[in-house]
Amino acid sequence: MKSRDGLFDTLKVKVDESPQSFPQDLAEALRFGAISICVLLIAAFLFSGVIGPLFALGSVEETVTDVLTRLALLALPFVAYISGASVARRYTRSDIARALGLAFTSTALLFALISAGYFVLDYGVFAPRQSLQMTLSQTEAGIRVDAVVAGGAAETAGLQVGDVISAIRRDAVDLGAFNKRLSQSTEGDPLRLRFTRSDEELQETVRVVLVSDKQLGALLPGLALALVFTAIIVFLPGHWAPYIALVGLLSPLIVGYFWVIIATFSFRTEGLVPLDGNDNFGGFTLKNWESIFVGNIAGLEFNIVPIFMTSLAIAVVMTFVVLLVSSMAGYALSRMHFPGRRFFLSFTLILHGFPAITLLIPIFIVLLRLGNIPVIGELIGFNTVGGIALVMVAFQLPLGVWLMKGFFDNIPWDMERSALIDGASRWRTYWEILLPQIRPGLLALGIFAFIGGWNAYIIPATYSIGSGVSNLPVFLNELIDETAPVDWNQVAAVGLFQLIPIFIFFIFAQEYLLNIYAGGTKGSS
């Protein structure tokens, strides 16, 4: 019953437990920590020792398993401290001193254990570092060599004490840049150093070696970090934990969307930092937005109005056709009796999981043929808005029909019977009585279809030539592909311009959208 308090637990019911002595608590904390360490070590081993090699057998050139291994090892100490501290958390309210004492002790012991492991395995702070085996200091003239290791890389290459290094190849460096460059190199990399020795300019190539210098002093910052982390864990209110985890998981998205917004309003960006022409913070401008409407981005001239209208046309046509066609078929499948009904229903379900996207090539041929039909070929053939919209309608149809059938299923049969007895035909029953009653369903499917149509990329890109019928996503991709260098901030403005209608829908129709994506059993991914 000791393991009753889990990590970050917020117990509503305190289980009756006899208080434990400090050594008992500590043993429990250490046990949790050790278990965490073992689990993560096993995970790391599985990633790099089993799963990675398996995929390598299939000649997959992946680094995912490496990254996962490194993540597991990186998280290892922190997870261990959390596990240990979770035992201490049960005293946070009653006895702060005891909680902190217990947490710090367990963290310190776990830290020692992990550090010992690092020491033995040459990992972490004890990992071998890239080195040129000389001691340097920054002086007015440049980087001065204060000492060289006898027989080391620098000495072998011919550097001597007193040399002043000014550049690596042609790049002038100071000590900071030099160390950074060194830390980014790998074993055996040649670094061609420019240096002066008694006013004579020389160049020598030094090869980077890995040196492990196991200085226990390097542990101190780590210990401090571990203790601060532990204190935070002990005092962190339990109900914050899910929020922290959620924000953490979402952070790449938050950062990414944040960038789009910043980028569209600034001259240029490095990472998340907006910069002006002189690389100083700032450079806020509306120029990017202006260029959309002026119609010139990085020399590529365009008119945004027809592109916007094409996007809108594809989305609107598609929405209406999807709603009409799916609701008609959904009505028949839900409400009417006819031979083959079961077959059509099963068929709809199979189409639902059908990889329609693989039919792009033959549909291309179909559209070419449709284009040859007089009159309607102009509307729905290859390279027309109608054709693109119809293909997208067809792809969304299995979902739409299934969804509409579900909504019709929920209307009481008496409603239908009543209308029929009142004298309505099936068509009028569908149009006048039932359709108005599945408004939420129509709205949900409509929004879904509109977003699909507005975002459409691969189908318009495949079935249109030239910008005559290209929509915003296709145009955006052309901007990225065809302008060099890409002006990312102007491109971002076009992207945000495309995203705004979606954002608006998103804000007003979240609930509907969640519903439809939760169509789950009914919905596509």
Binding site: L420, I421, G423, Q437
Partner: protein, 362 residues
């Protein structure tokens, strides 16, 4: 309009909805279909309405065979349990909908809807939507919508079961009154035997897809032709006991190991001549608690007393038999009390245990 049903069967795959039903309903008659749920009464109604297609048999409205006539061409009105009002239309639009479909002119629509609404007492509500109405008001709108096109036949599918008890009582009277006034042939499906007894001219009792009896309420009550009818009609239900009826010296006795009751000749002779065990039925109101025991009474022990307000429903055990009966609350009977029961054997019914058919009435 006469409604004639001959040998009607309706099956859903293997499941029998109703089988071999023959029913002749007179013009202007109010007929109730009564039975427990799943007995086929609603199926029959929906088949009459043209919602279901008969598997076999013929349905005639008047002289016209309507088997394959679309519901809209049958000129019927129907009131549903759920009312089935169109939620997106106002009360006016709801009532006018059948007229609109008949392409009646706007002005006529207006007049006729007003007229019906006034009859139904919902003239003030025409601009409201169904969601804003009470259950009783919705019920009236549904009735109005069924009546507005002046149907030949009115169909009711448990229309009162969603109303509270008080309102049900009022509506019961109103529907019956209205039906008599308008003289429209009406078929009324219900599982509530009180509703059927009080409203209908004749009741078709159904069970398991079969017609059990088709008679006036009094007939059904006094002369039930099957044990099912006897048990279903009347509240609290009839008591049934397995007995054997013996004749001795021109007198007849219904006997069990703990009971011996004399039966009049006209009631006792048929079961006696049937031979072997029979089922005796006796209604709770035909058993009295006798104030003074005599040779006609039987002694028993009160097992449970359920107060019904005006009366107490009392379960009395005699040997291994249990009888429900009604007693005045004033008498304050208690469980465990020993009482003497007087049976009014002139009202006793006898049934064949095999066929469950009455031995008295054919």
């Amino acid at each position: 309009m006469k409604v004639t049903i001959d040998n009607l069967s309706k099956k859903f795959g293997e499941v029998v909805g109703v089988e071999n039903l023959t029913l002749h309903i007179e013009d202007g008659e109010f007929v109730a279909f009564l039975g427990p749920s799943g007995c086929g009464k609603t199926t029959t109604l929906l088949t009459l309405a043209g919602i279901y297609k008969p598997t076999d048999g013929v349905i005639r409205f008047g002289e016209r065979v309507v088997n394959t006539v679309q519901p809209k061409d049958r000129n019927i009105g129907m009131v549903f349990q759920s009312y089935a009002l169109y939620p997106h239309m106002t009360v006016f639009q709801n009532i006018a909908y059948p007229l609109k479909l008949k392409k009646v002119s706007k002005a006529d629509q207006h007049d006729r809807v007003r007229q019906v609404a006034n009859v139904m007492g919902i003239g003030e509500l025409l601009d409201r939507r169904p969601g804003q109405l009470s259950g009783g008001q919705q019920q009236r709108v549904a009735l109005g919508r069924a009546l507005v096109k002046e149907p030949d036949v009115l169909l009711f599918d448990e229309p009162l079961s969603n109303l509270d008890a008080r309102l049900r009582l009022t509506m019961r009277g109103e529907i019956k009154h209205l039906q008599k006034d308008l003289g429209i042939t009406s078929i009324y499906v219900t599982h509530d035997q009180v509703e059927a007894m009080t409203m209908a001219d004749r009741i078709a009792v159904m069970s398991g897809g079969h017609l059990q009896a088709f008679d006036s309420p009094d007939e059904l009550y006094d002369r039930p032709k099957t044990q099912f009818v006897a048990g279903f009609v009347g509240n609290p239900p009839m008591n049934f006991v397995d007995v054997s009826v013996q004749a001795s010296n021109g007198r007849f006795f219904a006997e069990t190991e703990s009971l011996r009751l004399e039966v009049q000749k006209e009631r006792g002779a048929p079961p006696a001549s049937h031979g072997g065990p029979v089922v005796m039925g006796i209604r709770p109101e035909d058993i009295q608690i006798a104030s003074d025991p005599n040779n006609g009474t039987v002694s028993g022990e009160i097992f449970v007393v359920e107060p019904l307000g005006r009366e107490d429903l009392i379960d009395v055990r005699i040997g291994r038999h249990s009888f429900l009966l009604l007693a005045d609350t004033e008498d304050r009977h208690q469980a465990g009390e020993r009482v003497s029961l007087a049976f009014d054997m002139e009202q006793a019914q006898f049934f064949d245990p095999e066929t469950e058919k009455s031995l008295l009435w054919q």
